[in-house]
Structures are given as structure tokens and as C-alpha cells.
């Protein structure tokens, strides 16, 4: 048995190097916010800062990779960029958390952070309050994943004034590049704002033959086309349901916008079906989309009936062959009959290698960000098998998701933290087709997600930042009228 003086010396010495000399061992891993225990993170990700959610008087966290070690004191673990770069080099960081309660130190069970596969350096998302009707405060934000820097791409406050509100939505990029991108501005000075090879264009995609302007976009990977859904969207409030809000389409179709010809043609417009959320295969020869059958007259009560029946409107997953050179379509094929299983599919997105298709599956409807039962599912396009991504899903909403350009990562929106605010999580696709433990987009201040009162939706990866300044977007939107598009009949094989 050591004498007290030896123990004291050991503690003093150890304290200088950061680690307590004597401590009990706990078989529990520390509770962290965000939870970064045993996650796989991109090798170029910004520091994974976290808060230790344990009771205790003092805390010491040691992060090491065999060659390098850093010690952080306190509940809030914020790692400097330079230190983080050094730690990341070996592909694995071991983290030990010590907590002191009274005079007793306890070592929590260590955990590790594995670093694999780079991720696209930027994402963009829409910043929005989880509100119902009002939208005075919307921004599209781009964020560096390698640091914590974020910038506004465009904000509606740059243009709108009292009585002239403007909604912005559906930012989208061609092949992860910002030289070809688009977003919609609605109402005041409305139109679809496009960047075509670096040049700005504002178009009004509504024609007399289509039900609305373009809504949910899918930019063709090889040709100058954008597939859109056209939607007449309405929303209402649930009296009791904790989902709170229901968003439905009174009508929806699919159209194809030919960028070069500035012309729109119909892809699908069955009046008894709601078609939505187009997504291209990586080779651009297949269009995936969701569709629900619903037959009801087009009269004044249509909306009431649709809201009353909304739980019975269930979307299936379809694909439709496309020849981009001749712009001709094949017949639609049912890929997943979710309706017969009592479910509803939305947001199909195909991995860049064409192997996997992830979609959101809920009990009904198409706007799953307000459906707590919505989970992410994945189809193996090689054999058509599907499975829920249990390793990713939570009891709360999982909804919008995007693949990184190398197909190794997904980013998805979820309300798992509090049930109301949409937050962005990342997960790594392992070789066996399973995903690693999801983790929250790192923030400079680890408590950010708890304190920030906006939601982040529509996360999209980008290989580069948007080069056009917000002011240039704003000036263009103010100055340029939305040019009309030509309607042309669809071509069928």
C-alpha cells in the first residue's frame, strides 16, 4: 500500500500531464452531447466538439492517437483546429473522460472516433423556423464541413418588405457542383433562380398546360434537363396529433425542363395520381419518383376531402426509363408497393454508384418531415431488397437525405433531439451495406443544436462553395423578371 504522500505526489504529477493519477473505473461510457461515442467520421471533418452530460465537479478529457495526445478540462470539450488535424492523422482517436465527484476521480469507459473516407467539403441547407404559415425569415446557408464556417447563399430578408413576403426553397445542384444550381423564390418577385454554367437565369416554369411552376427538382447528371414535380400544396393543423401539421398536394405531376430550349414537357400527369419527388439514376437513364392513387372530383370540396382522407393517401416507389439523347420515356415500373404494406414512400435518392436507393417511409402522405413515424429505408437496386436503416433511425422523424459525391456518406435531417427542430446528421456507408452510428453535424459550440431556434432542412452536399454572392442573387432577383417557358408535348417511346 502506498503512503499518502506518494499518492499525493502521483496525483500532482499526473495532474500536470492532465490525467488523474488515481481513479475508479466505470464500466459506462460517458454521456455526451452530441453523442460522438464510437462514431465513424469523415477524415476531413471539423472538430467533433461535445459536452459531457455527467454529474461531477471536474472533468478531464484526453484525446489521443498513439502519437499525439491533447487534454481538455471542463464539461465542454472544444478542440482547436490545429490539434484536431494532428489527432486525425492516424485514422483513429481514443477518447478518455475522467470526472471528479467530491475528491474521487472516475474514469469513464473510453471510446474511439474512427476517421474514414473524405466527405464533400460543403453542404447547404435551408434555415427555417418550425412554423406553420409564416416564412418571413428564411435563408439558404452553405456550411464548410471541414471547419465551422457558414455563409448565407441567399436570404429572403434581402428582398422582401412588409406586405411583400417571399418564400425560398428547393436549392439543388447539378452533380454537386455550384456552377449549375437552382432554387425557387415564391410570391414576391417569384421564379426559379438558376445558375447555368455560372450565369444567372430566372424562369417561370408554370405554363397553361401544367398545374404549377416546378417544385422538387432533380437535375439530370449528363444532359441539360431538370425533372420537377409540379404541386398544388396546402397545409393544415392537426387538432391533437403530435405531428401538428399536415402538408398535402391537391394535385401533383412530373415535368421535364429542357434548359437549352427553355421548354417544359410533361413526364407524368395522371389526374387520379399524385406524382412527386423525382430523382435520377447516376447514368441519367432512369427517373425514380413516388406516386399515390387518389380519385376524387376536381370540385370546391376537393381540398376538404383530401385533408379528411390524408391518412389513406399512400405513395409507392416507381421508376421510369429515359433516353436522354432522344428525350423519350419508357413505361413506369412499380419498384416498391408501399401502399399494400400500409406505408408511404417519399424522397427517393440513388447512391452515386447506382447500387443503393434510400427513401423515407412513413404511414401516409408525402411530406414526412412532419411525420414522426418517418424512417429512412434502403433498397438494394441490385436485387430489389429493402430494409429499414435501423442503425440510423430514431423514434422521431428522419426525412430528407443526400448522398455524398463519393457515395460513402449520407447526410439526413432528423428531429431526434427534441421532436420539433430539424437537425443534420451524418453516417458512413460501410462495405457491407450498413451504416455507421449517425452523429450530429459538428458545431463550434457543442451546445449549439440545443440553443439554436431554427431548423435546418434540405441538406445537400457540394464539392465547392456557391461562388455567386448573396447580393448578386438579390440584385438579380429584384431586377430580372421570370422569363416564361415554352410548353412542348411529351415524347413517348
Amino acid at each position: 500500500m502506498r503512503t499518502p504522500s506518494v499518492i499525493l505526489l502521483a496525483v500532482t504529477f499526473a495532474a500536470c500531464s492532465g490525467v488523474p493519477g488515481t481513479f475508479d473505473k466505470s464500466n459506462l461510457k460517458p454521456s455526451l452531447f452530441p453523442d460522438y461515442t464510437d462514431v465513424t467520421a469523415p477524415s476531413n471533418i471539423a472538430p467533433l466538439n461535445f459536452i459531457i452530460q455527467e454529474e461531477g465537479d471536474r472533468f478531464i478529457t484526453v484525446l489521443e492517437n498513439g502519437r499525439k495526445s491533447i487534454t481538455v478540462t471542463g464539461k465542454q470539450v472544444r478542440i482547436k483546429d490545429r490539434q484536431w488535424k494532428g489527432l486525425k492523422k492516424d485514422g483513429k482517436i481514443d477518447v478518455s473522460v475522467y470526472k471528479k465527484t467530491g475528491s474521487q476521480w472516475t474514469a469513464m469507459q473510453p471510446f474511439s472516433i474512427t476517421l474514414e473516407d473524405d466527405i464533400d467539403p460543403f453542404i447547404s441547407y435551408r434555415q427555417i423556423m418550425p412554423s406553420v404559415d409564416s416564412y418571413q425569415d428564411l435563408s439558404i446557408i452553405q456550411r464548410s464541413l471541414e471547419s465551422f464556417r457558414s455563409k448565407v447563399v441567399y436570404s429572403n430578408s434581402m428582398v422582401q418588405d412588409l406586405g411583400n413576403g417571399q418564400c425560398i426553397n428547393c436549392h439543388h445542384y447539378r452533380n454537386y457542383s455550384t456552377d449549375n444550381m437552382q432554387f425557387h423564390v415564391r410570391q414576391y418577385l417569384g421564379g426559379t433562380v438558376m445558375v447555368i454554367d455560372g450565369n444567372l437565369r430566372k424562369v417561370n416554369l408554370k405554363t397553361d398546360s401544367t398545374i404549377s411552376a416546378g417544385v422538387y427538382p432533380a437535375w439530370h447528371p449528363t444532359h441539360d434537363y431538370i425533372a420537377y414535380s409540379t404541386n398544388m400544396t396546402y397545409q393544415s393543423v392537426h387538432t391533437v396529433d403530435p405531428n401538428r401539421i399536415e402538408v398535402v398536394d391537391l394535385e401533383s405531376d412530373l415535368i421535364l425542363y429542357n434548359i437549352k430550349d427553355n421548354a417544359v414537357s410533361v413526364i407524368e400527369n395522371d389526374p387520379d395520381r399524385f406524382e412527386c419527388f423525382p430523382a435520377w439514376s447516376p447514368d441519367g437513364r432512369m427517373l425514380y419518383y413516388v406516386s399515390a392513387r387518389y380519385e376524387t372530383p376536381f370540385d370546391d370540396d376537393r381540398m376538404d376531402r383530401i385533408f379528411a382522407d390524408c391518412r389513406s393517401i399512400k405513395y409507392n416507389l416507381y421508376c421510369k426509363p429515359f433516353d436522354p439523347d432522344t428525350r423519350t420515356w419508357g413505361k413506369s415500373v412499380l419498384l416498391f408497393d408501399a401502399a399494400s404494406a400500409g406505408k408511404s414512400v417519399t424522397l427517393p435518392r440513388v447512391s452515386p454508384d447506382g447500387r443503393w436507393l434510400i427513401f423515407a417511409l412513413g404511414e401516409y402522405g408525402v411530406f414526412h418531415i412532419w411525420h414522426r413515424d418517418s424512417d429512412l429505408w434502403m433498397m438494394d437496386l441490385a436485387d430489389g431488397s429493402i430494409r429499414p436503416l435501423d442503425e440510423i433511425n430514431s423514434p422521431e422523424v428522419e426525412s430528407y437525405h443526400s448522398w455524398s459525391s463519393n457515395g460513402k456518406w449520407i447526410i439526413f435531417s432528423t428531429r431526434r433531439e427534441d421532436g420539433a427542430y430539424t437537425r443534420l446528421y451524418l453516417s458512413h456507408l460501410e462495405a457491407d451495406g450498413h451504416f455507421s452510428k449517425p452523429f450530429a453535424l459538428p458545431q463550434k459550440k457543442p451546445g449549439f443544436n440545443r440553443n439554436y431556434m431554427y431548423s435546418f432542412n434540405i441538406p445537400e452536399f457540394m464539392k465547392e462553395p456557391v461562388h455567386i454572392t448573396p447580393r448578386k442573387f438579390a440584385s438579380f432577383i429584384e431586377a430580372a423578371p421570370a422569363s416564361p417557358v415554352r410548353y412542348e408535348p411529351k415524347l413517348q417511346k
Partner: protein
Amino acid sequence: MLTSSNKKTYLTALGPISGFLPFVLAVILWLVLAIHDGQILKKTENLSLFLSDYLFLKECLSIPGGVIGWAGAFLTQFLYLPWIGSLIWILLLLFSARLTVKAFSIPDRMAALAYIPAVAIIALNVSLGYGIFLMKGRDYFFSTVLGYISALIPMLIEKHLTSSWRIMLFRFVWITVGFMLLGTYAIAGVLASLISGIRNRNATVSCITVALIIIAPLVLYSFYTSYRLADTLYLGLPQISVRDWNTRIRTPLFIVLAYLPLMAMAPFRRADGLKWLHNGYIFNTTCYLIFAATVYLMHYGELTFRAEVAMSNAIDDLEWQKAVDIFNDAAKSRIKADARAFESRTAELKGVSDPQLREEIIEKYSARFYEPTRIMVLYRDLAMIKMDKALDYAFTMKDGAHKPVSTTLVPIVIQAGKQLYLHYGLENMCYRWCFEDIVALGMSVNSLKYLAMQSVATGQWALAGKYLDQLDKTLFHRKWAHGQRTLLGNPDKVSAAAPYDQIQKLMCIDEKMSADLSKAELYLLSNFTSRRPVNATPEYDKVALFWAMRSLNDQQFWKWLSYYTKSNHVKALPIHVQEAALFYNSMQKMADNLPIDNKVSESFNAFMKYADTHNIRSVKESKYPYEQRFGHTFYFFYYFSRDIASY
């Protein structure tokens, strides 16, 4: 600041009255604000928010003038204690006047001129009325005076700068950095300084200053994404969410801003300027009296507005009886006025037989009779329901639909939607209107509290925790947040705690999609009377019966009476229910052997007898005499509260 030596000179020059008058008026204003308008100040604080954290500061700084907003929000917190908050505000106003004297070297004989900006700021704040529910940012109460003080700084600093290049350097820093922090006030300050040309007649400096004033905001504009170029002039100034109010809000502010360059050009700045005023005794006293009259005339003193706000505060604090007392006090304060109006009207109607002329006289007097506003009635009914007194006593009090005197009618749902929906168990609607409010006007203590409460009521602990975390960062609401936090994760504790014990009993409504079309009262009426929920509680049936009586629909009444008596195992009917049953039964017999008290029967018979001899020619004409005899009954309500327009 006023030193003891020049204070003495000042008082001597102006004479005892004009010297002390500003301070006397300031004390009177303080008393009026703290006593008369105390509840409005408390509501102003409730509708604002200051959080002691980096994110809040960062958000404030995302727009030029953000420091003014941040500091304004910080000080607005103190309106929670109206005596303290109003004192700070008045001291700042007095301080601004002192600085104005110094900045413009205003001679004693013209000292009253220094109070013009303060008066404009006071006039703005006391005249807002219903505008307090529409102000964006909600730091306006203090930010205007802080902005004005900051605009004086260039004048004061440049007095101590000896060379042109120092002045130029200062102006460069002030225009660029100052604009980012103080917005328009920074530009206004430099403009005044430029015009006054203190110790600097250098044309080059003036030209560069003008160029900077024009160019700097344009250049800095490209660094922000939070405003339009056209709004540059208004940065840092209070904003309102309704276009109709813009002129009203901005006029006093433009007076404040225009004051600076105008004073810089003022003739008294010449050595011989305005000597004819002599010691200024008369001039200053006259000015102070005009200022006092201006503030008095601008003050929005509508009785029903003050009652609404006080009732709203009482409901926020779950003080139901206090809410009812405020309602009754407002009515009582007008009893004599109503009696006088009736006497005058009766006298004028005497001998007039021409129906059209009678109608005109009645119409002329109708506005003189007191009526509560719809919000007051809704608050009162809510309070009576929460105290389980609605079916016995709600109709003993006045009903009505006094139209608020306001530039824009603030919809009930904006002003009271959160409270009504929360306490009537419509939690999703409460959530909705909290967010409509936040998106349109900014986060507030009020919205955060109602979001937290609706989250607690629905068992969303993590979400409630998020809102409570925000309230933890406030000075005066962290205690409330701490109390709510003890409920999280414990449904049994929530079900036993006020106000959730009562709210949850009303949360039994059936699921459906619904829209209130921004008409809260009509939505509540339709919600409670349309269909009985599958899992209706006795408490729900009781509230629904009350709303059925409000609907003035006999079918609804009998339907909900049946539900109510069964689910509540009623032995003796509440008084108003007896009155309604007796009344509706007399119109169309629906029930035998109704358990009616003798007193109620006697009252009803008296009513019928009176009605036989006193025809109700028009509601406006007959309401007052009937009210004196039967104003406490359901049948009075039935006849005289028809065609009430909600909004």
C-alpha cells in the same frame, strides 16, 4: 453632465419654475408609467427578450444597429418591475437632454429645446397602444433613447479633437464601425457634427465626411444579408409588422433624427443668436407645458386596452380571479358615465316620435355606453371556466364587442391566441400561434413560455427543456423556468400541477385537420360545439355546454346539457343553465320537470312580464334599462348580445 457650478447658473438663469419643471414632469411621468401604465410596461417586457448568451448577441449583430437592439433588449427586461424599468428609462431621457445641452451648447434661455427628442421618444412609446403587439424586435422601448444618446457622441467627442485629421479619422471609424453597431443613429450623429462644424471648417474634411456618409453604408451593405438597401435609413430604428403603422412609428423617430442636423444649424449657436429670449423663463416654461400637453394628448389611455393588457398579464400568471376583478373594475368605473349617458339620451328622446330621428339620437349615444372588448370577454370567460364559475356567474357580467380604438385592429388570435388555445386544450393551435408570432415579430418571453407550457402539457420533455433553457438565460423568468423544469419527465406531476391539471382534461378532442382562419373566438365556438369527442371528459362537457350557451342555439344547448348532466352526474343545475333551460323551454318545450330554483323562476317571470310591457324596439335603445334589471341573466345575454362581431 451637469456640474454643481453650472447647475447653479442654469437654475438661476431659468428661474425656479422652469428649472425644476422638467424634473417635476419627469416624476409625474414616472408615476403615470409605473402606476397607470404598469401593466402595459410589464406586457412590453413579456413581449421582448434578452438572453445572456453569445448566440443572442450574434443574432443582434447580424444587422447594422444591432448593438442598440441588444442594449435596448437588455434594459427592456427591467420593465418587468415597472417602477424600476420606467425609472431607468426616464433617467436615460433626462440624461439624453443633458447631453443634448452639452453637445449643441444650448444656452440656458433655450434649455427646453434639449427635451424635444426625449418628448418625441416618450410620445412614441406612450402612444403605441395596440402597437405593442405588433412591434418587431421589441427592444424599441429603450433602443430609441439609447440610439439618440449614441447619436450625440460624435458631437461631444469632436469638441475635444483638435486637428482636422483627427476629426477625419474619428469620423471614418465612427461611420464605418458606428454604422455597423448603431445603424442610422451613427450616420445621423456624424451628419449633425458635420453641419455644426465644431472647430472644423475644413472643406476637404467636410467633403470626405459627406462621401463617407454616402459610400460607407453602400459598401457595408454588401457584407450583410439581413436587410434591403432601401431599408438602410431605418437600421437600428424600431420596426412594426404592419404597413399601416409605419408612418405613426416613424414620425417621432424622424423628429429625433431630424432634430440633430436642425439643431446643428440652429441660430442660437451664433454668439448673438436669439438674444431676444432674454433669460428664457417664459420660453422654457411654455415649451415644457407644450411638451407635457403633447405627451398627455399622445398617451393611449383607452380603458379597455389597459384592462385587456392587465387581464392578459393576470392570465399569464394564472391569476384567474384577478383577471375577473380587472374586468369588473373596468365596468364599475363606467357605471356613472353610463347612467349619465342614459339620462341624457332619455331627455333628448323625450317627445321625439320620428323613428329616424330617434334612431339617430340612439346611435349618437350608443358609443357612450361602456362595453368590454371581445378579448376582455374571452379572457373573463376563460378565467370563470378555470375557476369553475362560468355556468353560474359568467353572464352576470357585461358582454359586448367594443371595437378597440386602433389604427389597425389586432386580431384576437394575435393578441390572445396563445393563451386561449393553451388553456382550452388546443395545444397544436397554441404551438402554431407561438411560431406565427416568433416568425413575424421575433422571439419573446411570452412565446417561449407558451411553447414551453404546450410542450409540458403534451409531454414533450426534450422540447420543453429547450424552451426552458432559453428562459434560464433571462433575468426575471429563470425562476419560472426552474419551476417548470421540475415537472419534466413526470406525467403524474404534470397532471396534478396548475395549469396542466385543467388543460389536460380539455385535451380529449378528436383528431382532425382544422384551420382557425385567424378567428380564434369562432374557432373555439365551433370546436366546442360541433361534435362531442369520443373520449369527452366531464370537464370538456361542462366547457362545451358553456360555449353552447354562448352560441345562442337552443339545439346546441339541449344537446350539450344532456351530455353535461350525464357525465357530471349533475343533481342541481348551475344558475345560468337553469335560466337557459327555462328560457329555451318557454320557446319550445323540450323537457318536463326541470330542476329550477324558485329565485330563477321568479326572475324569469319578472323578465317576461317586463318584456310584455317594454317592447324591445332596438337592442341599442332597450339594452340599458333591461341591463339594470336583468343584466345578470342568460336571457338578457340572449336578447342583447346577438350579432356580436368577432375579429
